[in-house]
């Protein structure tokens, strides 16, 4: 068993980390405070090939494996979890097309993302349906030549800047998840109304809004698979996207650890650096242990995907473990910094605020445990 990254993966990680340090970290604090969408940074990352990692080579993509993708995800999240949420949302939206699209759909919708800088949003959650995704109410009605979409989506990342929406709705609410279907919607289509930008605890540079669809007409050929196949596509997507989201938690946790070690060596209390106090040493040890375990889970989940092995419970392990660990690790980072950690002058309180969301989106830590137990008790 070879745990080592290939030399190419090391180069990819080097590039992504360099980008995170030089481009993201210097602006992370300011963008978080002001809630500035990182358009320029997003574009630069795209120019370097760090965005849309999921697009296959046949459609103009970089031809990355899932493992390459999580390596990039961790590195960019090291720079800023909030900005990375914006970057990753492209993959969350495009993955359903990669997984459930026809060859024409892939050429029509994926390839342009490799030729021009574009932003995408993935629309599943509704005001009344988050964890209970199977009960979504947005309707997709057969309008003869088109599908007609009506409904309200909530907490949509990149909504204010998206060129493309991938929308989950239902052809018949009574069919429950068997009615769920996915359609690709051009953001310029008439009838799409963006809500106000949400004022969030963390990931504040990420643009999150409600999106209302009022009789939005979408060409018939924009549906992914047949009506009712959306749920299967969504579930399959999660097996790919959960490791990716987990890698974001991993990157944030690593940053928190690095900052904690640096501070613990400098801050002197009771005559010695606090790194000499066992209470602090044990916190740092826990951080290191959890990060290593998170990384192994994230890498294995991604590797299984690449091997074509069903990875549902490992993907859940990775997402829940990495995000729960990140929450604990960033909280401890603030604790290690003490009073200074509580101040916005120091970078750790942002990490703690950012960590919280990763326990919530892409399937809450509680939903993950349902998935895990269901798989284990089959």
């Amino acid at each position: 068993m070879d745990f080592a990254l290939t030399s190419e993966q090391r180069e990819i990680r080097e590039l992504a980390l360099k980008f995170a340090r030089n481009e993201m970290i210097p602006l992370a604090q300011e963008y978080d405070e002001k809630g500035t969408f990182p358009t320029e940074i997003f574009k630069k990352a795209w120019e370097l090939g760090l965005i849309n990692v999921c697009i296959p080579a046949e459609y103009g993509g970089p031809g990355f494996t899932g493992l390459d993708g999580v390596i990039i995800g961790e590195s960019l999240a090291y720079g800023c979890m909030g900005m990375n949420t914006s970057f990753m949302a492209n993959d969350l939206a495009l993955l359903p097309i990669v997984i459930g699209g026809t060859d024409e759909q892939k050429k029509k919708f994926l390839t342009p993302f490799t030729q021009e800088f574009k932003i995408a949003s993935f629309c599943l959650t509704e005001p009344g349906n988050g964890s209970d995704a199977g009960g979504i109410k947005t309707s997709i009605k057969d309008g003869g030549d088109n599908w007609i979409i009506n409904g309200e989506k909530m907490w949509i990342t990149n909504a204010g800047y998206a060129d493309l929406f991938v929308v989950y709705g239902t052809i018949d609410v009574t069919l429950k998840h068997k009615g769920i279907s996915a359609v690709i919607v051009d953001a310029k289509t008439a009838g799409i109304v963006l809500g106000k930008k949400e004022d969030k605890m963390g990931h504040r540079s990420s643009d999150t809004r409600g999106v209302r669809f009022n009789n939005v007409k979408v060409p018939k050929e924009n549906m992914l698979g047949k009506p009712g196949e959306g749920w299967a596509i969504a579930m399959s997507t999660l097996d790919h996207s959960r490791p990716l989201v987990a890698s974001s938690a991993l990157g944030g946790a690593q940053r928190a650890l690095d900052l904690s070690i640096q501070y613990a060596k400098e801050r002197i209390q009771f005559g010695v650096p606090i790194a000499k106090h066992q209470a602090v040493q044990f916190m740092i040890a826990e951080m290191g242990m959890k990060i290593e375990a998170s990384r192994l889970l994230v890498h294995k989940a991604a590797w299984m995907c690449d091997q074509g092995i069903k990875n549902t419970e490992v993907a859940s392990y990775a997402k829940a473990f990495a995000s729960d660990s990140c929450m604990q690790i960033t909280t401890d980072a603030v604790q290690i910094y003490g009073g200074y950690g509580y101040s916005k002058e120091y970078p750790v309180e942002k990490l703690m605020r950012d960590a919280k969301l990763i326990q919530i989106y892409e399937g809450t830590s509680q939903i993950q445990r349902l998935v895990m137990s269901r798989e284990l008790l089959k």
Binding site: E8, K18, F19
Partner: protein, 262 residues
């Protein structure tokens, strides 16, 4: 047009340097290796020239051992066309390195029009190799360049000297140029670039292939040790008006003779 860029792989600036127990060198086992930062400006300048002369060939040459994240691969990922690697230890002296670089360049069969390198490598800080190389090739050289313009086969460069003044040189190629920070902004190696780099030619050579032996060493290092601990800070009482001038004079003197910062 044939452009050659000499790069070196060096320990990352954050690396903790630990002398070996016998003092013969430093511990290299857990070092993170990077492309010498000054060489990045050289690679970038070569690529900028290539933008104006697309048929130009940019070959990157390196003398040293094989480590993770090869500087040559990074240079090719940035856009260099091909590379030559002369396998050798990491503590060759400047003379041997320059001779090996010359041999590797000659082995390509292409006559150099412009040879670029960083002004110094941040491991041995010798600032010699580009000038030695120029002398070995019997070519003109300018070191510490912070400005570059090219007009046909004439190159106009600005060299930075003490005090921040700039010497302007105009030279006909072929020429050797040693680059300093501020010359340009090195581009990132893009991910597509990293993928393309895998297919670019990388010639592997030995020191014997380029005619370098132990007899070419001119400078010997030994007795590697950590610098002495900084002495504890000194505190001077300058509250007494009568003594103030003397106290300040004393500190200024120490800054020159003891701290050696002025």
């Amino acid at each position: 047009m044939n452009i050659f860029v000499c790069v070196k792989q060096v320990p990352d600036t954050e690396t903790k340097i630990i002398p070996t127990s016998d003092g013969s060198f430093i511990e290299t086992a857990s070092i993170k290796w990077i492309m010498n930062p000054y060489d990045e400006y050289a690679v970038e300048q070569a690529l900028l020239i290539k933008t104006t002369i697309p048929e130009a060939n940019v070959t990157v040459v390196r003398v040293g051992s094989v480590k993770d994240t090869e500087a040559l691969r990074t240079a090719m990922a940035m856009g260099a066309d091909e590379a030559s690697h002369v396998a050798a230890g990491d503590n060759l002296d400047s003379y041997s390195i320059a001779k090996a670089l010359k041999g590797a360049i000659e082995k390509t069969g292409r006559k150099p029009d412009i040879i670029l390198a960083g002004k110094q490598a941040i491991d041995d800080d010798c600032l010699q190799v580009p000038q030695i190389l120029a002398e070995m090739f019997n070519l003109p050289s300018v070191s510490v360049i912070v400005g570059f313009e090219m007009n046909g086969t004439t190159v106009k460069v600005k060299r930075e000297v003490e005090g921040g003044a700039l010497e302007v040189y105009e030279i006909a190629t072929p020429v050797v140029l040693a680059c300093n920070k501020g010359l340009n902004t090195p581009r990132y190696a893009s991910l597509p670039g990293i993928m393309k780099a895998k297919k670019k030619p990388l010639a592997q050579l030995s020191l014997a292939d380029v005619g370098v032996t132990d007899a070419d060493r001119r400078v010997k290092y030994s007795g590697f040790k950590l610098p002495p601990e900084k002495p504890a800070g000194k505190k001077f009482d300058a509250t007494d008006a009568a003594k103030q001038k003397d106290v300040v004079a004393q500190v200024v003197g120490l800054l020159r003779t003891e701290a050696k910062v002025l």
